[in-house]
């Protein structure tokens, strides 16, 4: 093996807090060689980020690192501040998780990039500009010269992360530390950014330490992996060895928890039952939700309608789960709220048990709320911090089961806590005393305590670690079997959706592009967007990842205010005017129960035109 560029030995990081010292990292050793990508994998709280920050000497003030960190022959821990500053950003740079907060908002992209060159290489003026533009082009940012004058908020998330990468690469560093670089991005954008990082590593022979929780990303990117848990390395090795022959129980558990987009078999874990053909319980027809957006222009400005949900129709049979998939901004959460009448729909009907409930007022809806419930994304934010979890769970009962006495209510809450796998003695705990997974169980308990008929899960497992995510999914499937729940499962994660759904609907900018039975979608995707979405999800299997041919979407998600955006997959009918009424692609039934929107041939899919 070549001389490692970064060599960490016996690193320990301790934080002094008012509650005593916290050992975030306990004796960790690893090396990164030039041109190698090392994956540092672990769940939240495993100390993976702190190890990287220690290597950069960027720990928070109350943190202290001991051990040895050697970077290109220099001891980072003993280095004086001045010398550190010369190395940081020039020879060793970092990419952070959230590209919006990592860029200074009031400086243009150009100003921020030039600053780095000026500090490290004394390069100014036209020479600096040329170098910046060269790198922006290398990270495939279109119209690089114009982007130099733009502010971070003018760029999309994927574009910002590419700017971050360009900034990190400006001085040709020998080591790149990437801390969850794609976690905040959509799958299709993630695929683009990962592709870019992989190319850069090959071209420039930069060593990359990639910190992530996503086993799929690791399988896609890395040659070697270390698996961390609670500040310790539980397993380290070549990527194939870890994936195909894991030794440690934790690694095995982690790999088993990861939902696989390419297989539906859940092993010994619960899986969904087929649904008996019955009359639908919920029928949504041509639902539209629009928000007025104020635009510049005229004396008082003008309003333009943002079509968050633009004509969505589907139905749900009792005991069925509908998976709703799409990238951020595609209107999936708005759809959920539109169905529940939390946001008024502007058009279309929602029929619940044959009764049209769209446009009902809050008071009138109140009686129905017992049967229609929702589980939210952020487990902590969806619980009132000032109420015990028992009080939170009991609240719907208080409203909908007035016949129950206080004691009966408490009994029911305790029973429900057991049902969702929590200790009934936790009834008087506050949300902050529980972990994320436990809080999400509380959220589920609150939603199902009134024995509703329909539960909408809005990104209910997205904020959880993979192992916890797997448990919550198990719980949802078991509850569905036990109580005959009908569910709408909304997620951006296609692999998770595959595990729980009977049917799947793919949304793009508020419109359905493909709607079919679960296996049909994954094995026989017809619309180019669905194809790109599925191909973009990294599989936690290195051999499959290496062999995979990717269909990458070019560019970013366009603005939904621009009516041209909706015709991205059917440019043949496009009228080139952002305000014009565009052609609406029709839905075509290509097979029984498999509907696809019309599209032009693209990305390896044949065109589809309604006859």
């Amino acid at each position: 093996m070549t001389q490692p560029i970064l060599s960490v030995k016996d690193l320990a990081v301790t934080f002094e807090t008012p509650d005593g010292s916290v050992n975030a990292v306990k004796g960790v050793s690893f090396d990164v060689a030039p041109g190698e990508c090392l994956g540092i994998v672990g769940e939240s709280g495993s100390g993976k980020s702190q190890s990287a920050l220690a290597a950069m000497q960027l720990l928070a003030k109350n943190g202290a690192a001991t051990g040895a960190i050697e970077f290109a022959g220099h001891d980072m821990l003993a280095m004086p501040q001045k010398q550190l500053e010369r190395i940081r950003g020039a020879k060793m740079s970092m990419i952070f998780q959230d590209p919006l907060t990592a860029l200074t908002p009031q400086l243009t992209v150009g100003q921020q990039m030039r600053e780095i060159l000026e500090v490290h290489e004394g390069l100014r003026g036209a020479a600096a500009d040329a170098r910046c533009i060269e790198w922006l082009e290398k990270v495939r940012i279109p119209e690089a010269a114009r982007r130099m004058r733009q502010y971070p908020h003018e760029l999309s998330g994927g574009m910002r992360q590419r700017v971050m990468i360009a900034m990190a690469m400006l001085c040709a560093p020998e080591l790149l530390l990437a801390d969850e670089p794609t976690t905040a991005l959509d799958v299709t954008v993630q695929a683009q950014v990962l592709e870019l990082m992989d190319d850069l590593r090959r071209e420039t022979n930069t060593g990359i330490a990639l910190i992530t929780h996503d086993m799929g990303v690791v399988a896609r990117m890395c040659q070697r992996i270390i698996v961390m848990r609670k500040g310790e390395i539980v397993e380290a090795g070549e990527v194939d060895q870890i994936f195909y022959n894991p030794q440690h129980e934790y690694t095995k558990m982690l790999l088993a928890s990861v939902p696989r987009i390419d297989q539906v078999d859940r092993g010994a874990r619960p899986s969904i039952d087929p649904v008996a053909p019955q009359d639908p319980i919920l029928k949504v027809d041509d639902l539209k939700v629009q928000f007025p957006i104020r635009m510049k222009g005229g004396l008082f400005g003008r309003t333009k309608m943002l079509r968050a949900v633009d004509g969505v129709s589907f139905d749900l049979r009792p005991g069925e789960t509908l998976g709703v998939v799409g990238e951020s901004g595609c209107g999936k959460s708005t759809l959920a709220r539109g169905v529940l009448n939390l946001i008024p729909a502007s058009h279309g009907s929602v029929a619940w048990l044959g009764q049209d409930i769209s446009g009902w007022e809050r008071g009138k809806m109140r009686g129905l709320r017992k049967d229609l419930q929702i589980v939210f994304q952020d487990p902590l934010a969806s619980l009132n911090p000032r109420m015990t979890i028992g009080a939170s769970i009991a609240e719907p009962l208080q409203l909908h089961r007035r016949d129950l006495s206080r004691a009966e209510r408490t009994d029911k809450v305790r029973e429900m806590l057991t049902n969702v796998g929590l200790d009934p003695n936790m009834i008087n705990r506050y949300p902050h005393e529980l972990s994320g997974g436990q809080n999400q169980r509380v959220g589920i308990a609150r939603a199902i305590i009134t024995e509703p008929k329909l539960v909408i899960c809005d990104e209910a497992v997205s904020a959880l670690d993979v192992s916890v995510q797997a448990q919550v999914i198990d719980l949802l499937i078991e509850l569905q079997k036990k109580m005959g729940l009908t569910m709408m499962f909304i997620s951006h994660d296609l692999s998770v959706v595959r595990e729980v759904s009977h049917r799947i609907m793919v949304l793009y900018l508020g419109r359905v592009v493909e709607y079919a039975d679960r296996d049909q979608i994954y094995s026989n995707a017809t619309h180019p967007y669905t194809k790109a979405l599925i191909s973009a999800v990294p599989t936690p299997d290195p051999k499959i990842e290496r062999a995979k041919t990717r269909t990458l979407l070019e560019g970013d998600l366009p603005s939904p205010l621009d009516t041209r955006a909706a015709l991205r997959f059917m440019p043949s009918k496009l009228v080139d005017d952002p305000d014009a009424d565009q052609y609406r692609p029709k839905m075509v039934e290509v097979a029984p129960n498999h509907v696809v929107a019309e599209h032009d041939p693209a990305l390896g899919s044949a065109g589809l035109i309604a006859s």
Binding site: E249, K252, R366, F376, A381, N384, V468, A470
Partner: protein, 306 residues
């Protein structure tokens, strides 16, 4: 392949108790580490005890006029333990110690009652306005704006002149203005809370609007309300002192620190400086203590700081 094994690890993972601390525990820790705030709190407690029980130590009633000292204040009414006038006497020959005890009590009372009205009315008004939003919010907040734009000192003086000068009138006057800023603050905070998922969850469960405000919004305003209230108390004390200084506030035989300072200041040229300095010292100490405690609370409860 590893079906049963991983099931075991799966179940033990979430059961590890997460050691959490509540907002309040966290805040208490931070507050106690702030030395100025803790000192302020101790001083405030001492000041309250002084106002409540200080009278027991006094040798004279606050309204007892010692006519033997008439005209001889400057040399016979000086602060001394022998005569029992620990702080000396005022210009009318009354015991200044007993007067300061009484004045401190009244000043604290005015401040605390004013702040209480502000907390009660202001929080509810602001929470309702912010939560309901739309036109209701517009109207409710414009009313606050209009009330704030009236020069209140002027109105208060008019009120005291027309309805007669009494403690009750003073309370009403101060109560009328003190809640306005609180309402604005509570409304602003409500706007951020009402978009939280737990409020949406409550709506989705069918909780009626007013219950949401009382059960989900108001308890979450507590932090900012407590901070603002502690900062409001000294403001009101200052306000009352100013009114009393003008001779419109608390009436004889009652007194407040502001009134005492007023009387003391008039005697400055007569060589009886203690008449000014004793009430002034208590006044400043109380104000500083309140400000330090309020500041400490703000630092301790400010969520941006974490």
């Amino acid at each position: 392949m590893f079906g049963t094994r991983h099931a075991e690890t799966l179940t033990d993972a979430p059961l590890e108790a997460v050691k959490g601390r509540s907002l309040w525990q966290d805040a208490r820790g931070r507050f106690l580490r702030n030395k100025a705030a803790v000192t302020g709190l101790i001083v405030l407690i001492a000041m309250t005890l002084f106002a409540l029980f200080g009278g027991l130590l006094a040798k004279y009633e606050p309204d007892f006029v010692d006519f033997s000292l008439m005209g001889a204040n400057a040399f016979r009414g000086v602060p001394s333990f022998e005569t029992g006038h620990y702080f000396g006497v005022d210009q009318d020959g009354r015991d200044l110690y007993a007067r300061v005890v009484q004045g401190t009590g009244i000043s604290l009372l005015v401040g605390v009652v004013g702040a209480f009205v502000a907390v009660f009315v202001g929080t509810l008004y602001g929470a309702v306005s912010g939560y309901i939003g739309g036109r209701t919010d517009q109207i409710m907040m414009r009313i606050v704006d209009i009330l704030l734009s009236i020069p209140f000192m002027f109105v208060l003086i008019l009120m005291l002149v027309i309805f007669g000068r009494s403690l009750l009138m003073l309370f009403i006057g101060i109560g009328l203005i003190s809640w306005l800023n609180m309402a604005r603050i509570a409304r602003g905070q409500t706007l951020t809370i009402k978009n939280k998922e737990f409020v949406e969850a409550a709506i989705a469960s069918g909780v009626p609007t007013f219950t949401i405000i009382l059960r989900h919004i108001v308890p979450n305003l507590a932090g900012i309300v407590v901070v603002y209230a502690t900062l409001l108390v000294p403001e009101i004390i200052l306000f009352e002192s100013f009114v009393s200084y003008l001779g419109l506030g608390v009436q004889e035989p009652n007194t407040s620190l502001g009134a005492l300072i007023n009387l003391g200041a008039r005697q400055m040229n007569n060589g009886t400086l203690w008449m000014l300095l004793f009430p002034l010292a208590f006044f400043l100490t109380t104000l500083f203590a309140f400000f330090f405690v309020g500041d400490g609370l703000r630092d301790a409860l400010d969520p941006k700081d974490r």
